[in-house]
Amino acid sequence: MIEQKVVDPHFMLFEAKREKKFITGSEVVKEAIKRANVDMAISYPITPQSESMHLVGDIYAEGYLKDYYRGENEFAVMSAASGAAMGGVRVFTATGGPGTMRAFEMFPTWSGSRLPIVCAFMTRGINSPLTIQPDTIEMSFLLDTGMLMFHAEAGQDLFDMLLKAFIIAEKTEVHVPIGVFIDGFFVTHTRESIEITPEDMKLPAYDPYSAPVPVMDMENVPIRQIRDPFVMKSNFVSYAAHASWQQEIQAAAERSRKYIHQYLGGLVEVENEGADIMIVASGTAVSQSREAVAMAKKEGINVGLIKVKVVRPFPTEEIRSLTKNAKAVIVPEFNIVGWLCREIKTRIDNNEKVMGGPRVYGGMTMPPELILAEIRRCAK
């Protein structure tokens, strides 16, 4: 284990000299968590996530984390993560696909309990029939759990988003969980060059007493101070409390926007702003779209690309403004339901110009040519 010093997060992320490493997405997780000053990680194997949590186990063995274990199933793992977070430590875990579904009841519970857990989701198809292949359908189910959702395009995003997720999640006025989503196989198992921060630097430790709720340690303000959302009494105030509680979780997400701008440079990135045809995509669909944009350019078609980095909170104003003058909006996705398309359609005016697709799912790769075909169609 290399001796690490705590540094100012801004310095570590934006100023310290980075080193280039040719690694897989799973290794990116290891490198990020190594620098995140995480107290505890809990794991459970599921393809395509397993490798990343093995590697987190390895750095625990080296001494970078204080505690680590394999739980008995994802519901138990996410439950234990909530117990650890309520006890006041920084906790990390990861899952994907069917694991996400198995653990599902815990995600809104994390948000409702104001727990700043960071969870990596290596997305994969959901049964039945059995599949282990990439698919982003689980993100559709998670849209309304109160979690913030970052969608990494590739390994570099993954590294930065994981570290920044801890910083943003732990802000007192935010203090809700963040899911960092990575497309299984396309990112987790792809080896590429990643610029990583110095190995001897780490984020400052989590201060449990900065939480907007009391820590469950019997060491802070005492007694009769429950932390969980127990408002199931029978009177109007209880209903009002529950309604307000739900509003507050959404408000927390709104408050994160400022920090997302500060650390991620915004909820979206745009290429060729103002083009007649705009592609809106997240995750691997962005990478494929970049290729398609370049191909279209060669053919003389001017296409723009909006990369959605953050799905919750949703970049409503950004997408409204950036697609306002576009004649066509193409939304390529790696799932059958087209959740990103749905999100956009419900938020912009003249939404008949939004093309649902192209879409692939069930593990299929989306060739840039497929997106190009859609661009050509729209350009006619």
Partner: protein, 309 residues
């Protein structure tokens, strides 16, 4: 033209608020009216706020959920009025102008002056009926208080016929399996156990209903009543008579200070122990009168009694 009555019944869990609504609904249905009944309660047990709603009309009813804008409010317990044990604040929130409030109380009750003013502004008519007292006097059980409240309600407005109510009681308690929450079903059994035969249960409870119909009285907003109400608030709030409350009581002469009762009471800080004199004492306001302490007392020093708070 549609003639619809929306009734909100508020009380505490275990008082039979849900059952009362059910009986009225069954009776209305027998009378050939359209009706919908639904309870609403949290995941709580006895003595927590409980409400149920009855809608009666000559036209089909589609609306669901809480009756937010009632024509009639029926209040089973004084705590709904003065202790905030209500789903809404104030307890008459949403009452339609000219609406009716019926309260389980023995005498001219004292709704707090501000609430009184609010009700007056609405031209609300306030009625009271000593339902618990009538139930205890005639049926020998406070579990019949809800039937007395039905009587009070019918005394104010003949929403359903007496024949239909009688038939409803017969149907509800007369054998056929009725689907209710576990706790309600358990209380039904307790009520049934108080009477040797179902016919006796029906007759006694009809007596309760008829007596309550006669005894229900209207509160008048005259100066005297309002003055009394104001004076009562100055004296530190309500003096409205709550129902008689059963509680354990220790006969200190018989108590030997063995502490068995202290360790057998399911509720905290109900039975206190006087170290100096080595005697147990019951904090009556906290006692739920389950009788476990009576069962374990080796000296028969504890009894359950009704007292008046």
């Amino acid at each position: 033209m549609e003639e619809r009555f929306s009734i909100r019944m508020s009380g505490l869990g275990g008082q039979g608020v849900v059952t009362a609504a059910h009986l009225i609904g069954m009776a209305a249905s027998r009378d050939g009216k359209e009706t919908a009944v639904n309870p609403f309660f949290g995941a709580e047990k006895r003595l927590a706020p409980a409400e149920s709603y009855v809608r009666i009309s000559n036209m089909p009813i589609h609306e669901r959920g809480e009756v937010l804008y009632p024509d009639i409010i029926v209040i089973f317990h004084s705590h709904v009025v003065n202790m905030g044990k209500s789903y809404t604040m104030p307890f008459y929130d949403g009452l339609r102008p000219g609406g009716i409030v019926l309260i389980n109380a023995e005498g001219p009750h004292d709704i707090l002056p501000d609430d009184m003013l609010g009700l007056k502004k609405l031209n609300a008519r306030i009625f009271y009926v000593p339902a618990t007292k009538i139930a205890l006097d005639l049926a020998d059980t406070d579990l019949s208080s809800n039937l007395a409240m039905i009587g009070g309600l019918l005394g104010v407005k003949e929403l359903v016929s007496q024949e239909a109510i009688r038939a409803a009681i017969q149907e509800r308690f007369g054998g056929a399996k009725f689907i209710a929450s576990g706790t309600t079903a358990a209380l039904d059994d307790v009520l049934k156990s108080k009477f040797s035969k179902i016919s006796q249960l029906v007759e006694k409870n009809m007596e309760v209903i008829v007596a309550a119909m006669k005894q229900v009285k209207e509160f008048l907003y005259d100066e005297e009543s309002l003055r009394i109400a104001a004076a009562k608030q100055q004296n530190g709030g309500t003096t409205m008579k709550a129902a008689l409350i059963p509680s354990a009581r220790v006969n200190q002469e018989l108590c030997i200070g063995c502490k068995r009762c202290l360790m057998t009471c399911p509720d905290p800080n109900v039975i206190m122990y006087h170290k100096a004199i080595k005697k147990a004492e019951v904090v009556e306001i906290r006692c739920k009168a389950c009788g476990l302490c009576v069962a374990v007392c080796p000296k028969e020093a504890i009894k359950i009694d009704y007292y008046d708070n």
